[in-house]
């Protein structure tokens, strides 16, 4: 229960609506992993937003939203996968993470679907420029209009005119070029505050990381509306790997003296060492793990009250945490001491240091509502089947959820082969189905299923599909390892999530190998045929335009100028005589 309390508290801390606030939550996870969750929130009143009077809300993004008539925006950049078995419940119940690659969905104000789609294209193209990502590749084939999976988080005055569009780029590799524009949107721009810890090298070396941008309108009961932008970066770092210095990143074998050997083994000796599993929590400091120091508080955040406690560590109370700084800092404890928050000094660096410590109490990890895994079965170039296995770990409550699958058009599922089976029950768990079939080269398949999974049961969804054969120009120009299929999105409906964000989880993306021609072969063929054509053309051209005569048939004409003149005359004569 503890982590839920902590999460609730953490959310409650953030609920104070001030114009700009930021927070970093650190939580050590098992197997020397560390969850770092950054959150930045800025508000702008809707009147000043409309008058283009931007203070904390970034102007670049604000203007894009106005231009594309976007009322609510969610953008995700993710790498890696969340290991639910070891790390437990997802941060923010999965509401602030995306599938591998880039995921974008938005509510766009438009009169009809056509206009909504053209505004959606405007939005993806401009965001593409802003975030240095290939978002412009989200075209009609990659866009879907989900019906059950997403619901707006904000307060919208006229929801009837809003259109929800959703697109994913599972193959997009998220890297530092996406982080830089992300940091530029922050008021402190990574120079101070918790964002000063965000370093591309460490962020993209994480086992899992996701960056998100969420823009939504929030209205008070008295009718005051404002536009809220939440930026978050969640990552799970491998402490051992992150602690390695940047100038020596190679994990060379440690000297034997530095390895703790199990001396109780009978074979233990100078050349034989069974490495002991370290039971103690590893030592780490912020600077080591993030590769740079925390440069004090961002001056734009509150200096008083709970919003000024920007760095929080969620550890058992016995864990030693030392703060090293030359400036003034404050430590506050919440949730029966399992949450320690720090008010950062302004203008001076601060470092948190956790020594190696043998722990007696572990941190309780929340159980996620569902576990999901998805894989392609079968082999060969013609067909395959997809199998998604979803498990409900709860012993008491059934879970209702929506399963969204957006498939590319060249993966052609057979709906009649769609089976959903719950272990130990013959009842059909599918409550509702929404299906929009693919149209070749125009749009992909869109399946949404509403399902129920009883307590402790495992649900298996399978369906067969055919692989289409693409035209050779439809293959991407780069190395072809297969096509990525976007992760399935699962939204947990019941038990309901405590806030409007909802609870989500996503499967990993899939690799769909399609029959691929050997592209070097047509190249060779083209070269060969061109050569043959050139040879043939040359010969035929010669035969057509030249006149071949035997050497003895040519009338002997003397050399010199007279000879040339004579030859000319003869030629002219020959032409007339024809």
């Amino acid at each position: 229960m503890l982590p839920f309390l902590v999460l609730l508290l953490f959310n409650a801390l953030l609920a104070y609506a001030t114009d700009y606030e930021e927070r970093l939550l650190l939580r050590p996870l098992p197997r020397s992993a560390l969850l770092a969750s950054f959150q930045f929130r800025s508000n702008e009143s809707s009147t000043s937003f409309e008058q283009q009077n931007f203070r904390y809300f970034p102007r670049s993004l604000g203007q894009i939203l106005q231009h594309a008539h976007t009322k609510e925006l969610h953008l995700r950049f993710s790498v890696g996968r969340w290991d639910a078995e070891s790390w437990g419940q997802r941060q923010w119940n999965g509401a602030r993470e995306g599938g591998t690659g880039v995921e974008l969905w938005a509510w766009i104000e438009a009169d009809d679907e056509e206009q909504a789609f053209s505004r959606w294209l405007t939005l993806t193209n401009t965001l593409s420029g802003l975030f240095c990502a290939s978002l412009n590749f989200i075209d009609a084939t990659k866009t879907i209009r989900p019906v059950m999976t997403f619901s707006p988080e904000g307060d919208h005055p006229n929801p009837s005119k809003l259109h929800l569009l959703h697109g994913t780029l599972p193959h997009e590799v998220v890297c530092t070029e996406n982080l830089t524009p992300f940091l530029k949107l922050l008021p402190c721009k990574g120079k101070a505050g918790v964002s000063s810890l965000l370093d591309g090298h460490k962020l993209f070396d994480a086992s899992w990381q996701t960056m998100s941008i969420d823009v939504r309108p929030v209205c008070e009961e008295n009718g005051d509306c404002s536009l809220e932008m939440e930026q978050s970066v969640d990552m799970v770092l491998d402490i051992d790997r992150s602690k390695r210095p940047r100038d020596n990143p190679i994990p060379r074998p440690l000297p034997i003296e530095d390895i703790e050997c199990d001396t109780s083994k009978y074979y233990n000796g100078h050349d034989t060492c069974f490495p002991l599993d370290k039971q103690a929590d590893p030592a780490w400091t912020l600077t080591e793990v993030f590769g740079r120091p925390l440069r004090g508080a961002c001056p734009l955040t509150d200096t008083e009250g709970p919003n000024s406690h920007t760095v929080c560590i969620n550890t058992p109370p016995e864990r030693t945490v030392n703060a090293n700084t030359t400036g003034q800092y404050e430590e506050h404890r919440y949730a029966s001491d399992t949450m320690r928050c720090y008010k950062l000094p302004t203008g001076s660096d601060i470092d948190l240091e956790l020594p190696e410590q043998q722990m007696t109490t572990g941190l309780v990890l929340g159980t996620p509502p569902l576990y999901a895994a998805r894989a392609i079965n079968g082999h060969g170039q013609e067909r395959g089947s997809v199998q998604a296995v979803i498990r409900n770990p709860s012993t008491s409550t059934a879970v209702d959820f929506v399963y969204l699958e957006a498939l590319p058009w060249f993966m052609k599922p057979y709906l009649h082969t769609l089976r959903a089976q719950v272990t130990g029950s013959s009842e059909n768990p599918i409550k509702e189905t929404y299906y929009r079939p693919a149209v070749d080269r125009r749009r992909g398949t869109h399946i949404e299923l509403k399902l129920t999974i009883p307590a402790g049961a495992t649900l298996t969804i399978t369906y067969d599909f055919d692989k289409a054969i693409l035209r050779y120009t439809e293959y991407p120009p780069d190395a072809n390892r297969g096509f990525d299929v976007a992760p399935a999105v699962i939204r947990v409906l019941n038990p309901q999530s405590s806030d409007r964000r909802g609870a989500y989880l996503r499967t990993t993306s899939l690799l769909l190998p399609l029959p691929t021609p050997d592209f070097s072969m047509p190249y060779n063929v083209i070269i060969l045929t061109s050569t043959v054509m050139a040879l043939g053309f040359g010969n035929i051209f010669n035969l057509l335009v030249r006149r071949f005569v035997g050497a003895d048939e040519v009338p002997s004409i003397g050399g010199g100028l007279i000879g040339i003149l004579k030859a000319k005359v003869q030629r002219i004569r020959g032409r007339f005589s024809r």
């Binding site: 890696g80 290991d83 060492c273 190395a479």
Partner: protein, 618 residues
């Protein structure tokens, strides 16, 4: 037009029917000679790494120092498990993987083959690549027991210590799966079947953890005990089930890393000594062909290849000065190369014959030899078809100078053929057409093919202890059956010469078709079966007892069952072991060599034998 008319006229010429046997013989001779010249420098090529992304041997390897101490400890741990139960073993191996922060799962499997129950458990761990998105994976494995049945002490220990070492690197762009199958062939088969969800769920457990599409697999076979053993060379095994081969790039990468970067010599097909002479190249190639033709699994890697996962096994051989760390570094470098792959291995050859570690023959060069041999059957078959449509006595050649008087007598027996304004005088006999009686030949050929199902069923579904008697029973039965069949048919005055021609015609037609199709899938099997059935082209139904006896004896020797017995004797193997392996192959690996033997080779032999031995009873 004139040429066409000449050709059409030639078709009627009796001499044309004399050509096919010579043509067939020519095809066979060229086919065999073709194969024999392949080891020459002019017809083979040096291997080269075709996929640029692999960059073999371009990275520093760091698997040294204290890793060696850890490796020795793990080897002790493995040795301590030697006598323990499967459950205990799996538990301890899982613990070691888990202590290195890897996700571990186990898989139980059991197979039934020739009354034996093969059951064991696989242990595997998944290292989720920090740069990976769960779409691709590579497999490193060491079977608990190698092909010889020895415990793979150092191999398993090496996988355990490399798992620990790999976990520290952040550069993996694919998941790395560390697999310890319970035994060399069935364990990896169960695992890879379950990975692609094509297993039978009653006896094989599904995998609880999966990763992405498999891009490659490398198995390590190093059975040195807890005190180690320094080896001389790496023996690279690459044959897959049913003669499928991994992409040549994987093999080349392994050779290039081992010999180029680590200085370890590489060898293949059990050629422990290879001085690159013609004989040794030829011997390597023939050994490779026999191994490919048999289509059996040669190591834990074999089961992966039918799933289009390129795989090899590295086996340590001999006494030398290379230690476990150099093998570890070879594997490390090999996985670094595989990690570089942007695409599935596709650049290089999938069909090749290797002559030594860095010399090969590609399919375009070797395929004609098996095709020529398959073609000889088709040629004979067509010739027999034409022959069966002719009347038996051929008219004497009017241009012939001998037998003048006889010719005078028969002079009247001609017909005048008129067409448009042309008039021709043709011997009446050559205008006669003979009706082909197809019912007996077709029925006979169909029945003989169906008869092949019987031994196929018996060998694959008999208890181990009855396999020997069954084999000898079938040996005796197939020895007698052609004579018995011929005797029975002769008692009905069948088959007529035309019918025996047609029986041979259909039988050879099918043989030629099957073998040429097979040559594109399993060249070696097609070639071997083709060579062993060549006499079928030349034997004919004859009234001459001496020819019939000679033909029958030759065919009795080339009886598939006799050939199998002789091969088993020649290679010094145990017959029962071979039959058990074959049955295991049928039930576990999906081997179809038996299908070729019993449904292609045996029926062709049977039809030929019946036709020949018909002469004995006429």
């Amino acid at each position: 037009m004139a040429l066409l008319a000449t050709l059409l006229a030639l078709r009627k010429d009796a001499r044309i029917l004399k050509i096919p046997p010579y043509l067939s013989a020519f095809c066979i001779i060229v086919g065999v000679v073709w194969l024999l010249i392949l080891p020459l420098n002019e017809y083979s090529r040096n291997t080269y790494v075709s996929e640029n992304a692999l960059l073999p041997g371009q990275v520093h390897t760091y698997f040294t120092g204290s890793e060696h101490n850890v490796f020795r400890a793990y080897r002790q741990e493995v040795a301590a498990l030697a006598g323990s139960s499967v459950d205990q073993r799996s538990k301890r191996l899982s613990e070691i993987f888990q202590s290195n922060n890897l996700k571990v799962a186990t898989q139980k499997y059991s197979y039934q083959a020739s009354g034996r129950n093969i059951s064991n458990e696989n242990v595997y761990a998944v290292l989720q690549g920090p740069r990976a998105d769960a779409t691709e994976a590579v497999v490193m494995m060491a079977a608990w027991r190698n092909m010889a049945g020895d415990i793979n002490h150092s191999g398993v220990a090496l996988v355990l210590s490399l798992a620990r070492y790999f976990k520290r690197w952040s550069l993996w762009s694919k998941d790395v799966i560390f697999l310890i199958p319970g035994d060399s062939t069935t364990g990896s088969q169960a695992w890879v079947d379950a990975y692609h969800d094509s297993h039978s769920p009653d006896t094989i457990e599904p995998l609880s953890i999966k990763s992405g599409a498999l891009q490659g697999a490398v198995a390590v076979d190093y059975p040195a005990g807890p005190w180690g053993h320094r080896y001389d060379k790496l023996h690279i095994m690459y044959d897959g089930v049913n003669g499928q081969l991994p992409n040549l790039d994987l093999f080349n990468t392994a050779v290039s890393i081992a010999s180029g970067q680590m200085g370890i010599g590489c060898t293949l097909q059990r050629m422990w000594k290879h001085d690159d002479s013609y004989q040794e190249r030829l011997q390597t190639m023939l050994r490779g062909m026999i191994s490919q033709g048999l289509g059996h699994a040669t190591g834990p890697h074999s089961s992966f290849i039918p799933y289009h996962v390129d795989a090899i096994t590295l086996q340590t051989v001999g006494d030398g000065w290379h230690d476990e760390m150099s093998l570890g570094r070879t594997v490390e470098s090999l996985f670094r190369s595989l990690n570089n792959l942007l695409e599935h291995l596709h650049q290089s050859f999938f069909f090749y014959l290797l002559l030594q570690a860095n010399r090969f023959v590609s399919i375009g060069t070797y395929l004609p030899s098996a095709m020529l041999i398959a073609m000889n059957f088709s040629i004979t078959s067509i010739a027999l078809w034409v022959l069966s449509g002719r009347s038996i006595t051929t008219p004497p050649n009017p241009a012939s100078t001998s037998n003048k008087d006889k010719q005078e007598k028969e002079k009247a027996d001609v017909t005048v053929v008129k067409k448009d304004s042309a008039v021709a005088i043709v011997p009446t006999k050559s205008l006669e057409t003979v009706e082909r009686r197809l019912s007996l030949p077709l029925t006979f050929v169909a029945i003989s093919h169906f008869l092949g199902l019987l031994p196929l069923y018996l060998f694959n579904n008999t208890h181990e202890s009855y396999l020997d008697p069954i084999f000898y029973a079938i040996l005796g039965l197939t020895g007698i059956l052609p004579f018995a069949t011929a005797a029975i048919l002769q008692s009905f005055r069948r088959p007529t010469p035309q019918e025996s021609n047609l029986i041979q015609c259909f039988s050879l037609l099918l043989l030629g078709m099957f073998l040429s199709a097979l040559a594109t899938l399993n060249f070696s099997l097609s070639f071997l079966v083709g060579i062993l059935t060549t006499p079928l082209t030349f034997i004919r139904g004859t009234k001459n007892k001496i020819f019939a006896i000679i033909g029958s004896v030759i065919l009795a020797i080339l009886n598939p069952v006799v050939v199998i017995r002789a091969a088993v004797f020649f290679f010094g193997m145990d017959l029962r072991q071979v039959l058990v392996q074959a049955a295991e192959g049928w039930h576990v690996w999906g081997l179809w060599t038996q299908v070729v033997v019993w449904l292609v080779w045996w029926p062709a032999w049977f039809a030929g034998s019946v036709v020949v031995s018909g002469g004995l009873f006429s």
